[in-house]
Amino acid sequence: ELKVEQNPLFLSMQEGKNYTIYCNYSTTSDRLYWYRQDPGKSLESLFVLLSNGAVKQEGRLMASLDTKARLSTLHITAAVHDLSATYFCAVAGANSKLTFGKGITLSVRP
């Protein structure tokens, strides 16, 4: 059974500083997704990572994938308040079924 773990579960970030959050999973997969969810809102797709060593960047967020370590990281550069949200990673398993982690809640303070 595919298991997805994210850490930390909560991160208080200071504006302007850099941070990294993590997603690791238990079995081989060929696709990993990062989603963002604002309170009371739906999930918004951020990145799709398809291969070992894949790196995607959008604004202050950069996601990478290491399939050998079964690990994805999401790096935040110079945190700003707009990045406050919950970030989920989801891993594709058998029959393309997605298994989500519990999510990491990011809060940016001045």
Binding site: V4, S42, E44, S45, N95, F100, G103
Partner: protein, 115 residues
């Protein structure tokens, strides 16, 4: 282009009552998913449709939950009777299916409270 549309946004019912949720996927998306998201958790798949066929309903509690996707477009998810533990957000998602990315696009969800 409109995204995934769900209704209602909120529903409050008493236990043992029936409830239904409706989803209209993105036009042209053949694959439709229903997820349940409990507080503080990630979404968990309940059922997946390819066109009008349910291809994965292994996580759907079939004693009380049912779903249909007539004509391969809109879908409804029903709970009868509802239990206290069914309180959650029910999310619908759709994707084009196939392809290497197969990104799922989510609706805003229906927040169900069972009293």
């Amino acid at each position: 282009e409109a995204g995934v549309v769900q209704s209602p946004r909120y529903k409050i019912i008493e236990k043992k009552q029936p409830v239904a949720f409706w989803c209209n996927p993105i036009s042209g998306h053949n694959t439709l998913y229903w997820y349940r998201q409990n507080l503080g958790q990630g979404p968990e798949l309940l059922i997946r449709y390819e066109n009008e066929e349910a291809v994965d309903d292994s996580q759907l509690p079939k004693d009380r939950f049912s779903a249909e996707r007539l004509k391969g477009v809109d879908s409804t998810l029903k709970i009868q009777p509802a239990e206290l533990g069914d309180s959650a957000v029910y999310l619908c998602a759709s994707s084009q299916g196939g392809g290497s990315k197969n990104i799922q696009y989510f609706g805003a969800g229906t927040r169900l409270s069972v009293l």
